[in-house]
Symmetry: C2
Subunit: 127 residues, 2 copies
């Protein structure tokens, strides 16, 4: 179970920085929407993205979720992508996130296929 | 020379996520103040910190600077710590950063010794 603060941060309109590892081990970071299922951090991306290729090769992912109202309040989740969920579930999930962040269903063009990365927290540091 | 947008982001009261690599290659991230010297990203930390041990072992560092007014506007700098600057220069620099971010000189206890990480950008992706 994720701690209360991490779940709260991942339930609101806060941005997360997702860091994955390139083939040579260099960290790659992106600002992302973020969600959780009580036990895992959830990140919704597409399968043609570099970050998806990265976690397919090396499942380690660090997610830093920053309180949009206070940059000094954040949580760092060092974790492992334990599975991915695609299909209709991932498509519905990006609509739910878009409603939360934008107030409307997701309308950007989907270039390949949406996929949810389910990230098991191995270490969580709350700041 | 860093691009205009990255220099602007690193000159204002924006937060950066600094990612370094643990001994086993796992990415570690922290929210940090950020600065630049036109050619390098500058991060001010202390020498007892894990992030300093990390870059001493593996100088790769990725810095994601997020516009405090618009989370969709950010820059990702994948770089290398090319040198570190300590002593009075680093102590003055943390005062300058504190003035920018807090409006007053740095007053937190310095636990070991301040040090500036000078990060050469190897790849910059502006979003």
């Amino acid at each position: 179970m994720l701690d209360d603060k991490t779940r709260a941060l991942a339930s609101a309109r806060n941005f997360a920085v997702l860091t994955t590892l390139m083939a040579d081990g260099t960290p790659q970071s992106h600002v992302m929407w973020v969600d959780h299922d009580d036990e895992h951090i959830l990140i919704n991306t597409e399968i043609h993205r570099q970050k998806y290729a990265n976690v397919t090769r090396d499942p380690r992912a660090t997610v830093t979720i920053i309180d949009a109202d206070d940059g000094y309040s954040y949580t760092e989740v060092r974790g492992t992508v334990v599975d991915t969920v695609g299909g209709e579930t991932a498509r519905r999930h990006i609509d739910e996130l878009s409603l939360r962040y934008f107030g409307r269903p997701y309308s950007n063009r989907i270039q390949s296929e949406r996929v949810i990365l389910r990230i098991r927290p191995d270490r969580v540091i709350v700041h």
